[in-house]
């Protein structure tokens, strides 16, 4: 009869899931863009101290990281509980810091080599002696821009 005859009604039409991949892809791209891969696994406990007068760290490619703190639980049997320095994926001594900085600096692009910042990610309970030694080593290799990485919070959280 007519062309516009209703199809046989009754059962519900299936909801099209064709746009579902689009939605998921959108989320995927968001996380891909926002993601920063962790480049070294932490081998030291790293509870950063709190501070509120903070400045944002420079772009990622201009920063080198030095971690320090007590070795985490599974390394304590081997390395003891004294605070240690971690460079890349290895425990290191104070003497290694200079060589590490020079190697990092050499691996960066020419124009960035003079604007590098050293981020010190140090556990709050570390003694200042170790940090002073690190700073002394940094001065020796002329890596003078440093950043004490902290978490945002009132300074009173540092006293417990």
């Amino acid at each position: 009869m007519s062309k516009f005859k209703k199809k046989k009604g009754g059962d519900l039409p299936a909801i099209s899931t064709a746009s579902l991949p689009d939605i998921v892809f959108m989320l995927l791209f968001f996380f891909m863009v926002a993601t920063v891969m962790r480049d070294s696994t932490l081998m030291v406990s790293n509870t950063l101290p709190a501070a509120d007068q903070v400045q944002k760290l420079d772009k990622k490619d201009r920063v080198m990281y030095i971690y320090a703190g007590k070795p985490s639980d599974r390394y304590q049997s081997k390395y003891g509980t004294q605070a240690r320095i971690q460079l890349n994926d290895k425990f290191a001594t104070v003497q290694d810091v200079g060589a590490f900085v020079l190697a990092e600096r050499a691996s960066k692009r020419q124009e960035l080599q003079n604007v590098l910042t050293t981020a010190l990610k140090v556990d709050g309970e570390t003694n200042m002696g170790l940090i002073t030694d690190i700073k002394q080593e940094l001065r020796k290799v002329n890596a003078l821009k440093i950043n004490y990485t902290t978490r945002l919070g009132a300074y009173t959280q540092n006293f417990n």
Binding site: T17, A18, L20, P21, V24, F25, L27, L28, F31, M32, A34, T35, V36, M37, R38, P49, A50, A51, D52, Q53, V54, Q55, K56, L57, K59, K60, V63, T117, A119, V122, D123, G124, E125, T126, N127, M128, G129, I131, T132, K135, L138, R139, K140, N142, A143, L144, K145, I146, N147, Y148, T149, T150, L152, Y155, T156, N158, F159
Partner: protein
């Protein structure tokens, strides 16, 4: 002739693939939140003739191995440190050439002459805890920021910004170069009024 529709490609599993990727990125993601206190270390050089600095222009802060604070030879609680540092920097007790015309302090002759001359000296023990050191640093930077905020507002009343807010805009990579240029001038003026002169002594050894 019966109508034949083109066979549809089944896109049902596409979502599964996308989800797999999504979950991978969700797990490996750490959204950048790093921030901290920026400092500049002094270069190693032999100072042949150390400049003579008047004792009243130095504000000494000592942290001992029990994390106690000694400010200007007197024990102090850390919550009073910020106010004490502000009072010292903003004192402006100088006369003649060293007078400070924007300071609002008490003009105490036994405290600093001019913010330009005032030096905060921080000394810590090798056994001081890092988090206490950071707390002290934080309070000293806060004192500088407080004064710089005040001066920035006084000099640029129409901006409706404080020094710290302006500095944040300045260091934001999305800010346009022209805005940056304008901000840099204003920031530098204030930085010159209250230069951050924070000196760190070599730590003392514990016997």
């Amino acid at each position: 002739m019966p109508k034949r529709s083109a066979p549809e490609v089944n896109a049902g599993s596409m979502a599964d693939i996308a989800f797999l990727l999504l979950i991978f990125f969700l797990v490996t993601t750490t959204i950048e939140t790093d921030s901290g206190i920026n400092r500049k270390l002094p270069p190693i050089e032999d100072v042949v003739d150390p400049p003579v600095i008047k004792q009243r222009n130095i504000f000494t802060v000592v942290v001992n191995k029990n994390n106690d604070l000694l400010v200007e030879e007197k024990p102090m609680n850390i919550k009073d440190l910020r106010a004490a540092a502000v009072a010292f920097l903003d004192n402006g007790g100088g006369k003649g050439e060293e007078a400070c015309n924007f300071c609002q302090g008490e003009k105490d002759p036994s405290s600093s002459d001019n913010p330009d001359k005032a030096i905060i000296s921080l000394k810590n023990d090798r056994e001081t805890e890092y988090q206490v050191y950071i707390a002290v640093q934080n309070e000293l930077v806060a004192a500088y920021n407080e004064l710089r905020d005040r001066e920035y507002l006084r000099l640029n009343p129409n901006d409706g910004l404080t020094f710290t807010q302006a500095d944040k805009i300045y260091s934001d990579p999305r800010t346009t170069p022209s805005t940056k240029e304008a901000l840099k001038k204003k920031l530098d003026v204030v930085k010159l009024l209250f230069p951050q002169k924070l000196s760190e002594a070599e730590p003392s050894k514990t016997n």
